[in-house]
C-alpha cells in the first residue's frame, strides 16, 4: 500500500489483514457444521449434569450406560436410516418390544439355541419391516400414519402374547453361556452389545458416506423426483430402509432381552418419541436427505444422558416426558428454521471483502496517452454470429481453423480460411475458458469447474488434471479446481495454468471482484510425472498466462489488482515475481504473444472511481453485500473493454477500442494469426476479426513457438 495513506486507511488495511473474516463463511459452508450445534449441546449437557450429579461420570455407571446406549443407539440409527431416505418409522419401539418378548420366549421358555433365536428375531424384524416397506414403498402410503398404525398392530400383538407368556418367561431360565456373554460379557473391557452396535454404526457410516447404495439412499431423501429421474429404483430404496430399520430394532430388542432377562407391560412404551427426539436433536432432517451416523450417535447420547440425568435427579416420569416433548418441539423448530434459512445466512456471511488500494488509474483520454480512445474495433469482421455463446478464448491452429469454447460446454471449430462453416469439435460439459496448443498440436483447455483437459487432433478428450495439492491452512478444500482460467505451456512441456479463485464457482466470479481477496493461484501440471502442484498461491483473481520468449518465465495477469507480473519458473531468477504493470486502467484478462515479440492483452472491463474508492472500504462492501440485492451491487464496469499491446518492460504500445460497444462490448481474449487479430468475449455471441495493418501476414503462433511443421 502507498505510504501517504491516511490513518483510517491504514486501520482498515490492518483490520482486513489481521482478522480473517472470510474464515467464518468458509466454516459455515462446511458439511460438518450441521453437527456442531448438537455436539456443543452434548458437551454442555455432560458438563452440567456431571457437575450437579455426583458419580455421573463414574466407571460403574459408564458400563451400564454404554449398554443402554448400545440398544438405544441402534434404534436411533434405524430411525435415522429411514429419515435420511425421506420417510419416518414410528414402529421402531413396537418392533423392539416384540423382539424382546420373542427373544425371551425363545431362550427362556423353549430353550432354543441362542444363534437360532437371533436368526429368528432378525427374521421377525425383516417381516415387520417388509410390511412397512411394502405399504410405504410400493403402495405409497404416508409413512407417518402407516407406521403409527403398524406401531399399534405390533404393540397389540405384544400385549396379546405377553399376557399369555409372562409367567412362563418369569419361571423360565437359560443357562446358555452365550446368552450370558451377550448380556453381560465384554470384549477388551468394552461391553459386547456396544461392540455390536459400534460395528453396525461403522458399517452404516461407510455405506452412507462412501458407497453407492448410501448415496442413492440420500438422493432419494434429498429429492425424490430427481432420484427417480436419475434412474434410482426409489420404491426399492424406500422398501429396504424399512426392512433395515426393523431388523436393527429387532437386534436392539435381542440385546435388551439378553441384558435384562425379563420384560414388562411397559417395555418400549414411548421409545419411539425418544428415538425421534434423538434423531432430530442430532441434526437429521425431517424431510430427508440429510443425516449421518455421527448425528444419530450424538443425538442418542444427548437424549440418553438427559433422561438418565433427570431420573438421577429424582424428577418424576411425567415431568421427564414433558421435558422430552418440549425438547422434541424445540429440536424440530430449530431444524425447520435451519433448513429454511441456512442458505440465506450463508449467502449473507460468505462474502467477505478485503482492503485493496489501487494506484491511480492512468488518464485514458489525455492527449498522447497510449490508451487514447479510438473506434478501430467497431468495423471488425464478424464470425459465427449467433451460433456461439460465450467464446471466452479463441485460438487458431496451423491450418487456420478457429477454435472457441461455448457456454454449452462445447468446443466449436470454424474451418479456415474463411471460417463460414463450423462443427462441434469436442463436447466436454463445462464452459471452456483459456486454450493453448502443445508441441504435438493437442489442444489444452481450462474448463471452469472441471479442470484441465486435452483434446487431441483426432478429437479424443482426456482429463489432464482436476486437483492440486491441498494446502493445510485453507478451510475450503482448495485441492479441487473450481475456476481454471487460462493456460500456457513451457517449452519443456510443463503446463502452467491459472485458477481465478478458490472461493467461488464460475457463475459467481463477479462476487469475487467484490471481495478482491487473494484467493486465486497459479498451478503447474507436469505431463512427465502426471503431478499437479500449486506454483504461486494467493493471487488476486489470477487470469491470463503467456510464456515469455526466454523459456524460463511467463507473464500473468491479476484482474482485480489491475496488474501484470512476470514469474520465473527456471533460470537464475527462479521463483521470483517481478511486477511489470501495476496501474492498468481496466481489469486484465487473457494475455497472448504478438508477432513482433510483444504481448496482446484484453481488458475485460474498465476501472471507475467509485469502485476504486469502495475497494479501500471493506466494511462498506460488506454492508452492501448483506443489505442490497446482488443485482444492485457495485461491480467492475464490464460493459466496455479494449485490447492493448504491451512490451516486456511494461510499456503500453497500442490500444484498440470499440467505443459504442456495438460488436465487442466485452473482450476477454484475442489471438494474432497471419495478420489478423481474432477477438473473443465471455458474454459475446460472436468472434471478431480485425485486420492488423502492419503485422506479419504469415505469422502463426504455433509455428513461432513450437517451430514450423510441414
Amino acid at each position: 500500500m502507498a505510504s501517504n495513506d491516511s490513518l483510517s486507511d491504514r486501520l482498515a488495511f490492518l483490520r482486513s489483514r489481521l482478522f480473517p473474516d472470510h474464515v467464518v463463511g468458509e466454516i459455515m459452508s462446511k458439511r460438518w457444521i450441521d453437527n456442531a450445534i448438537p455436539f456443543t449441546a452434548l458437551v454442555l449437557t455432560i458438563i452440567v449434569l456431571g457437575s450437579i450429579i455426583p458419580d455421573f461420570l463414574s466407571l460403574s455407571s459408564l458400563s451400564d450406560f454404554s449398554r443402554q446406549f448400545a440398544e438405544f443407539g441402534l434404534v436411533v440409527l434405524a430411525l435415522t436410516i429411514v429419515m435420511i431416505s425421506g420417510g419416518i418409522d414410528l414402529s421402531v419401539a413396537a418392533v423392539f418390544s416384540l423382539a424382546v418378548l420373542f427373544s425371551l420366549i425363545g431362550v427362556n421358555v423353549y430353550e432354543l439355541p441362542v444363534p437360532a433365536v437371533l436368526v429368528g428375531i432378525l427374521g421377525l424384524g425383516m417381516v415387520c419391516g417388509a410390511l412397512n416397506g411394502v405399504l410405504i414403498g410400493y403402495l405409497r402410503l404416508r409413512a407417518f400414519l402407516t407406521t403409527l398404525v403398524s406401531l399399534i398392530i405390533f404393540r397389540s400383538i405384544y400385549e396379546i402374547v405377553f399376557v399369555k407368556m409372562s409367567t412362563a418367561i418369569m419361571s423360565g431360565f437359560s443357562d446358555s453361556d452365550l446368552w450370558l456373554f451377550i448380556g453381560e460379557g465384554s470384549i477388551l473391557g468394552v461391553p459386547v452389545s456396544l461392540v455390536i452396535t459400534l460395528v453396525i454404526a461403522l458399517a452404516w457410516h461407510i455405506v452412507l458416506s462412501r458407497m453407492r447404495p448410501g448415496w442413492r439412499l440420500t438422493a432419494v431423501g434429498g429429492a425424490r423426483r430427481s432420484a427417480f429421474n436419475a434412474g434410482i429404483d426409489v420404491r426399492l430404496m424406500v422398501f429396504s430402509t424399512y426392512v433395515a430399520s426393523s431388523m436393527m430394532c429387532a437386534l436392539a430388542g435381542f440385546l435388551f432381552a439378553a441384558r435384562l432377562g425379563s420384560t414388562g407391560s411397559d417395555t418400549g412404551v414411548g421409545l419411539e418419541v425418544q428415538a425421534l427426539t434423538a434423531a432430530v436433536l442430532g441434526g437429521t432432517a425431517i424431510g430427508g436427505g440429510r443425516g449421518s451416523v455421527a448425528k444419530a450417535i450424538i443425538g442418542s447420547l444427548l437424549v440418553l444422558l438427559l433422561t438418565n440425568g433427570l431420573i438421577n435427579l429424582g424428577i418424576s416420569g411425567p415431568i421427564t416426558s414433558t421435558i422430552l416433548g418440549a425438547v422434541l418441539i424445540l429440536a424440530v423448530f430449530i431444524d425447520m428454521r435451519w433448513q429454511k434459512h441456512r442458505h440465506r445466512i450463508l449467502a449473507k456471511i460468505y462474502v467477505s471483502p478485503t482492503y485493496l488500494d489501487l494506484p491511480p488509474a492512468p488518464a485514458i483520454d489525455a492527449p498522447g496517452s497510449p490508451y487514447a480512445l479510438n473506434d478501430r474495433l467497431r468495423s471488425v469482421e464478424i464470425i459465427g454470429l449467433g451460433e456461439i455463446e460465450g467464446p471466452e478464448d479463441v485460438i487458431l491452429d496451423r491450418q487456420d481453423n478457429l477454435y472457441c469454447g461455448t457456454r454449452h460446454g462445447d468446443i466449436v471449430r470454424f474451418f479456415g480460411p474463411d471460417h463460414k462453416r463450423s462443427e462441434i469439435f469436442a463436447h466436454i460439459g463445462g464452459h471452456p475458458l483459456g486454450m493453448a496448443f502443445d508441441r504435438d498440436d493437442n489442444l489444452l483447455v481450462c474448463i471452469g469447474g472441471m479442470g484441465l483437459f486435452q483434446v487431441a487432433p483426432d478429437k479424443t478428450v482426456t482429463k489432464l488434471t482436476d486437483e492440486t495439492n491441498r494446502s493445510w491452512t485453507s478451510i475450503v478444500d482448495d485441492s479441487r479446481l473450481r475456476l481454471a482460467d487460462d493456460v500456457d505451456i513451457a517449452p519443456d512441456g510443463r503446463v502452467y495454468f491459472s485458477e481465478a479463485t478458490i472461493r467461488y464457482e464460475q457463475e459467481d466470479w463477479a462476487t469475487d471482484a467484490l471481495e478482491s481477496r487473494a484467493s486465486g493461484r497459479m498451478i503447474c501440471y507436469d505431463p512427465k510425472t502426471g503431478r499437479t502442484h500449486t506454483e504461486i498461491p494467493k493471487l488476486v483473481f489470477a487470469n491470463g498466462v503467456a510464456m515469455c520468449p526466454d523459456g524460463q518465465s511467463f507473464m500473468f495477469a491479476e484482474s482485480w489488482t489491475c496488474s501484470i507480473s512476470r514469474y520465473y519458473f527456471d533460470g537464475p531468477k527462479k521463483g521470483t515475481i517481478e511486477k511489470v504493470i501495476d496501474n492498468l486502467p481496466g481489469y486484465p484478462d487473457n494475455i497472448n504473444r504478438a508477432s513482433d515479440g510483444n504481448y496482446w492483452m484484453a481488458l475485460l472491463g474498465m476501472r471507475g472511481p467509485a469502485l476504486d474508492l469502495a475497494l479501500k472500504m471493506p466494511g462498506f462492501r460488506k454492508r452492501m453485500a448483506r443489505r442490497v440485492a446482488p443485482d444492485q451491487w457495485l461491480y467492475p464496469n464490464i460493459n466496455t473493454g479494449c485490447v492493448v499491446k504491451f512490451n516486456e518492460k511494461g510499456e503500453i504500445l497500442d490500444s484498440l477500442w470499440d467505443l459504442g460497444g456495438l460488436n465487442h462490448p466485452m473482450i476477454t481474449s484475442m489471438r494474432e494469426h497471419r495478420g489478423w487479430l481474432y477477438l473473443g468475449g465471455v458474454s459475446n455471441n460472436r468472434i471478431g476479426r480485425y485486420r492488423l495493418p502492419d503485422a506479419d501476414p504469415n505469422w502463426c503462433a504455433q509455428d513461432a513457438y513450437w517451430g514450423a511443421k510441414p
Binding site: L139, L141, F144, V149, I152, R155, S156, I160, R224, R225
Partner: protein
C-alpha cells in the same frame, strides 16, 4: 373425483349396514333397543372428537393432542371441584386451559412451521406430563355430586335419546353449519385443498390454521365434559390408550382424505356408525381389549390404503421439507 369420494362413503356405509346385519343375525342381544342406544351412546364421545379431528384434517392438518387436551383439562376441572371450587368456575379454568393448548398447537404449526403431526404428538406429551405433575395427582377423578344440569348432561334424555347422543347431534349440526355456511368453513376447505393457492388468494392462512386447532381443542373440551358427565369421572389413563387412533379411524374410515380439502360432517357420521357397530359387536363377542385394538388398527390400515387409492397423491411431488407425513 366427486364420484370416487361418494363411492368411498357409500362403501363404508354399506359395510356398516352389512356388519350391522351380520351382527343382528348372529348375535343374540344385538338387535335390541337397549343395545342400539348403548351402541350410539358408546361412540358419541368418539364422534364428537371426530368432529374436531375432521375439521383439522379437512384443513390438511392433524391433531394428535385431542385426547390429551380432553383428559388434562377435564381432570383439572374435576380435581379443582373436589378441592371445593364451584363447578362453573372450574369449568372456565379448564376451558381456558384447553383453548391455550389449542392456541399453542396452532401457533407452533402456523407460525413456527413445525409439522402438525410432530407438534401435536409432542404437545400431547407435554400437556399430559405437565398435568400429571402439576394439576392433578390421582389417576381417576370423580365428578361432584348433586349438580342437576351436570347429571342431566350425563344421565338425562330428550325424547328418549340419551344426552350424549343429543350432544353429538347438536355439535354435528353446528359443525356442518360452520363448514358449509360460514366463510371460515370455506377457507378451511380452500386451505386444505391447496394452502399456497389459498394464501396467494388472500386468505389469512396462518390465523386460519390457529383457529382450526383452537376449535378442535374446544371440541375436545366439550367431549370431555360430556364424557365426565356420562361416566361420572375422568380417567387419565385414557391418554395412554389408543383412543386418539380410534378418532382417526372414525375420520379416515368415514372418507375424509388425509390430503385435505375433502369430506364433511356426513363422513364423520358414517365413520362413527361403522366404528360403533364394530366396537359394539366385538364387545358382545367378548373379544379382549388388546385383540380389539389389533382388529381396529388392521381396519384403519385398510382404510388408509383405500384412501390412498381413491385420493392418490404423487409421491414424487408431495415430498416437502416436512417429510413424508
Amino acid at each position: 373425483m366427486r364420484k370416487a369420494r361418494l363411492s368411498q362413503e357409500g362403501v363404508v356405509f354399506a359395510l356398516a349396514v352389512l356388519l350391522f346385519a351380520a351382527f343382528a343375525v348372529t348375535l343374540n342381544n344385538f338387535l335390541t333397543t337397549g343395545n342400539l342406544i348403548a351402541l350410539v351412546r358408546s361412540v358419541s364421545i368418539l364422534g364428537i372428537l371426530g368432529l374436531g379431528m375432521g375439521l383439522v384434517v379437512i384443513g390438511r392438518g392433524i391433531d394428535l393432542a385431542m385426547v390429551a387436551t380432553m383428559v388434562v383439562s377435564l381432570s383439572w376441572v374435576l380435581s379443582m371441584t373436589q378441592g371445593g371450587m364451584p363447578l362453573g368456575t372450574a369449568l372456565l379454568f379448564g376451558l381456558a386451559l384447553a383453548l391455550a393448548i389449542g392456541l399453542m398447537n396452532g401457533i407452533l404449526i402456523a407460525y413456527a412451521d413445525i409439522p402438525a403431526i410432530f407438534t401435536t404428538l409432542a404437545m400431547g406429551l407435554v400437556a399430559y406430563g405437565a398435568g400429571r405433575a402439576f394439576l392433578f395427582q390421582i389417576d381417576v377423578q370423580n365428578t361432584p355430586a348433586g349438580i342437576a344440569w351436570f347429571d342431566f348432561l350425563g344421565q338425562g334424555s330428550v325424547f328418549g335419546l340419551p344426552m350424549p347422543i343429543v350432544a353429538f347431534a347438536v355439535l354435528a349440526a353446528l359443525m356442518a353449519l360452520l363448514l358449509l355456511r360460514t366463510r371460515f368453513g370455506r377457507f378451511v376447505y380452500a386451505a386444505g385443498d391447496n394452502a399456497l393457492a389459498a394464501r396467494i388468494t388472500g386468505i389469512p392462512l396462518r390465523p386460519l390454521i390457529v383457529a382450526q386447532y383452537v376449535v378442535s381443542a374446544l371440541i375436545a373440551f366439550l367431549a370431555g365434559l360430556v364424557m365426565a358427565a356420562a361416566v361420572s369421572g375422568m380417567s387419565t389413563r385414557l391418554y395412554n390408550s389408543t383412543m386418539i387412533y380410534d378418532v382417526l379411524l372414525v375420520v379416515v374410515l368415514g372418507g375424509i382424505s388425509l390430503s385435505g380439502g375433502r369430506g364433511g360432517v356426513r363422513n364423520i357420521l358414517v365413520g362413527t356408525l361403522l366404528v360403533g357397530v364394530l366396537l359394539n359387536g366385538m364387545t358382545i363377542l367378548d373379544i379382549t381389549y388388546t385383540t380389539q385394538n389389533l382388529i381396529k388398527s388392521l381396519i384403519l390400515l385398510l382404510a388408509i390404503m383405500v384412501d390412498s387409492f381413491i385420493n392418490p397423491r404423487d409421491e414424487q411431488t408431495s415430498q416437502q421439507a416436512q417429510g413424508d407425513i
